[in-house]
Every structure is written in structure tokens, then in C-alpha cells.
Assembly symmetry: C2
Homo-oligomer: 289 residues x 2
Amino acid sequence: MLETYMIQQLATFAEEGTLSAVAERLHISQPAISRSMAKMEKIIGVPLFERTKNSIRLNSFGMLAARHAGIILCAQEEMLRAVREKYRRSRTFSYGAIAPAPAWELSPILSQIYPGMTVSYELQEKEEPLLKGLAEKRYDIVVLLNPAKDENYFCRPFIRECLSVLLPKKHRLAARKAIWLKDLAGEKILIHDKIGFWYSMVRRKIPGAVFLEQPELASLLEIVKNSHLPSFITDISEQKLHTPVPKDKTAILLLDEEASARFYCVCRAGDASRLSAVFSAIDNLIGRK
Amino acid sequence: MLETYMIQQLATFAEEGTLSAVAERLHISQPAISRSMAKMEKIIGVPLFERTKNSIRLNSFGMLAARHAGIILCAQEEMLRAVREKYRRSRTFSYGAIAPAPAWELSPILSQIYPGMTVSYELQEKEEPLLKGLAEKRYDIVVLLNPAKDENYFCRPFIRECLSVLLPKKHRLAARKAIWLKDLAGEKILIHDKIGFWYSMVRRKIPGAVFLEQPELASLLEIVKNSHLPSFITDISEQKLHTPVPKDKTAILLLDEEASARFYCVCRAGDASRLSAVFSAIDNLIGRK
DNA sequence: CCGTATTACGCTAGCCGTAATGATG
DNA sequence: CATCATTACGGCTAGCGTAATACGG
């Protein structure tokens, strides 16, 4: 029988060219490699090497064998990869969301329904990568801004979220009850970059604004607290991040249609029954609100 | 490291379904299989089986792993097959011929040039399978009836051979100096079936003849000697098979164009230099004759 | 003379088989 | 209680490392 260690040693020899190099790379002694290779030739019944007293190299049969050895090792690695990946997926509930708030809402629901499972999510700014990931089974569920009407999907409405802008009370717009995003044109605005679609939306709708991006959420919140720069807040972020409006600031509602989001939870149609508990919980949540 | 024996046992389990059956099939004890499978799960880090106290079966990860195991084993077998096949080919000089006589001529030439190599040939009735086999490297050389003019081939003329018919002296045609094949219409004729193109040619050219086929050459020669039935002989077969025309029979030349054959030796153009010694020997042979 | 491959020799890790145990239908 | 899987234990194969040998640039 051709054992794995021989196959690996042959493949390594094809890359290294000397037995000593193979020995060093595989953390094994020189004589061991010499023996394995001799044994391999015996098993196959074909000479694989051209030898002199102090050199050894592959002949044409050995080169062919080494190519096959590489293929076999790849197949073994692929086996490990595939099985481990399937296992990991089976223990991970993965979803994608167009914004952080619905992801925050979904997380405890899933953790409760699937205790012991890893729950993980990714944020995306656009819907296409979410639907693509759903189709490719990288996501079990995605949260979108629009209902998926395709028959291949099962879709339920999820929470709503409203964007406001947080202004110092001395700001020229601070007295207004509500404003448009375009009113913020030219402002310097603090913003977190991992907020899904909000990020590209506000960039698009506020001409000439300077966005001071802060990749660390904790740092951003600290800077917001200690500066007089405008920043964004939503009804949900205020609650979930425990960041009430400070006394010297005021939250101004935004009038733009895009500033009010209704989210939708979507799964593959074939997964609807498997995920019925999740969608029941979602419906309950919406019903209560 | 995933060892070959584990992979094989897993693949066998996927086919057999119980550890005992695997043990029996692989000539190994039950506990050994049990241990190997447990070890495999440990190495991969993923449970592959659903167990009760006295039953064990693959779970979905195990089924995936078993599919990969099959692939790996196939790759290993393919490695052995390919390397051994390449080795065998390197030690075998293989040629195909449209008739036995040129094969007989070629054999000693090749044995002398390649001492220690196995020399083997196949007879074919048609040229197409010969050229196909040459292109597919199943033959190193082929012997045809027509020169190969294609640039992909290297071609040299080889020996000539003339067909006669062997008739009892009492036969109605025995007094003729030469006859046409069609003159034998309706005769019962003894014939060997492994004579390449001659076989189909005479069958085509002699209407209504009854051919008494004899697959064993030795038997055929014996029957020819002890019967009064017509049979075929060529200038070369007479010499090579040591079968001189018996006193009560006579060899009548055949006038048909097809009864005189000129053979041509052909190899792939890329092999011409490798086989130059062979073609020199062929040219010498022709030159002497 | 250092680097490389092979041979010799004793060790031990690990796989195997037997036997015992436990569970199930 | 017959069948199947697992656990325990002792034996032995076989691959390993060290050391020695031999060759070559």
C-alpha cells in the first residue's frame, strides 16, 4: 500500500531536489527519507530515481509519480477542507445585513433559538452581495431594505429605523425641528464606516460634506462626546449603544425618504421551514413593536 | 496526517455499512476498524459517525468524507497505473502490422537493436487501426501496404511478399502457370485467420469460396499437409515457416495486383531520430534483397 | 573537508489481534 | 442469545534516529 508519508516525501523531493532538504523541511532524518523512497520504488515496482553514490534525482517515471503525488495530496487537503468547512457551517448561523441595527436585533433571537451555535454576521453596503451570498449559502438569512419578491426567496418584514443628525445646540441648524440631508452640505461630519447602506447613502445625499471616518466604534463615540462636530444617530442606535443625546446636543430628524428604513428578513425558499422558528420570532418582535 | 489505511477503511465502510463487514473485507479485526475510524474523526476534528451502543453509521460529514476518500483512492490507483504503464511502455517495443511476414522480419531486427526489451506486435486487417494506434503511441512502428505521405509520419519502404495458392497436382488448375484469385471461385480453401490484410482481401476477391478457417497455425499446417484442399502460401511464409511445397502439390502464382504486396514501415515523425537505428537496419535489409 | 546518499543497528511508537464488556433486537 | 460496537491489554511490526560508511566537488 502506498502510504501518505511516502507520497508526501516524494512530492517534497520533487520541490527540493535533495534528500537532506526534504528531511529538514519535514522534520525527519535523512536516512528515513532515503528508506521511504526506496520502499516506494519497491511498492510501485518501477525505478523512480537516478542515483550516483552521493546524488539522487528523479527520472522520468519519478517525475510522473511526483506529479500524481501532488494531485493526491491536494485531494487529501481538499477532503479535510471540505469536511471541516461543512462542519463549521453546520455550527454557524451566518447572516448578512444592509445595516447594523437589524443585525443587532437578529443576533439575540438566533442565539436563543440555536443555543451553542456560533452566530455571525457581515455588513454590506449594497443588496447584491447579500443576495449573492444567500444564493451561495454563505448566508442563512440576509436583511435587506426591500422585500424580495423572487419565488426563490422567503421574505418577512423586519424592524424600522430612523436616522437623525446629532448637532451641538449652538449649531446654526440646531433649532430646526427637522432638516434635509442636503442642508448639511459642506459640514464636517463624524461618521463610522461600518454602518452598511447608511454610509453610502449619506455620502450621496450630502454634497460637499467632509466625512471624518472613524473605524473604531468606541473611539467614534468618545470623539462625538468630546467635540462639537455633527454626527449621526438613529432611534435604535441610541437605545442599543446606550448613547442618549447629551445635554449640549440635540437630535434633529431627517426628512429624506431614505432616512427612514424598513428592513426585510430574507432566506432561501427551501430554508423557510428549517428557519420557521426564526421567522416566528421575527414576526413576534414586529407585532410587539 | 490522514493515512491511507484510514481513508481506505472509511471508503469501504461507506460501501459496507458495518464495521464487521469492513473488517472481513479488508482482512483485519473489528476493533482495528473501530479504532481507525475514531482516530480519523480525531484527526479531522469533525464527528463522522452517528453511534448508538451497538450501531454506527455515517452522518452527513462522514458521507462527504467518504466521497472524498473514494476520490483519493482513485487518485492513488491512477498514480500506480500511470507510472507502471509508462515503465512498461519504456521497456516494450510495440509495433503493428498489416500482415504477418513483415512482422516476422521486423522482430529479429528490433530484438537485436534493443536487447532486453520486450518486442511485441499486433496484426490488423485494416490500415486505420494501425495509424490510430501509432498516433496514440500504442505502436512505435506500423507496417502498412501504402507509403504514409502525411508530414506527421516518417516512412520507409520495407519488404515485398507474393501470394500463391497451393494446389494438389491433381487439381483442375494445377497445370496452370498462374491464375487469378477469381478462378478459385467455389473452392473449399484452408485458411489461417490471423494473416492481416490477406484474409479480407482473398475473401473479397474469391466469390463463393468456402473458407475453412483454422485459428491454430500449427494445426493448419498439419491439415494442409494431410489433405487435398487448396491453401495459400507466400514466398516469405514458405521460407519462414519452413514449409516447402510438398511433392504432391504445386504453388501457383496469383496474377491479381493485390497478391503482390509491398510493405512500408512508418513511425511518428518525432520518433524518426530515436528510431534511426531501426530504419537503417530496414534499409540495409531492403538493399540486400 | 563538507555535503550528500546509503547501510547498520537498536529503539519505540503505534497498529494489530485476542479477550472482555456492553448494548440491542 | 446472537450480533454489533467499544474498551483493555499485551505483542510485534515497521518506521525512526543515531552512528558509521562511502563518494564527490
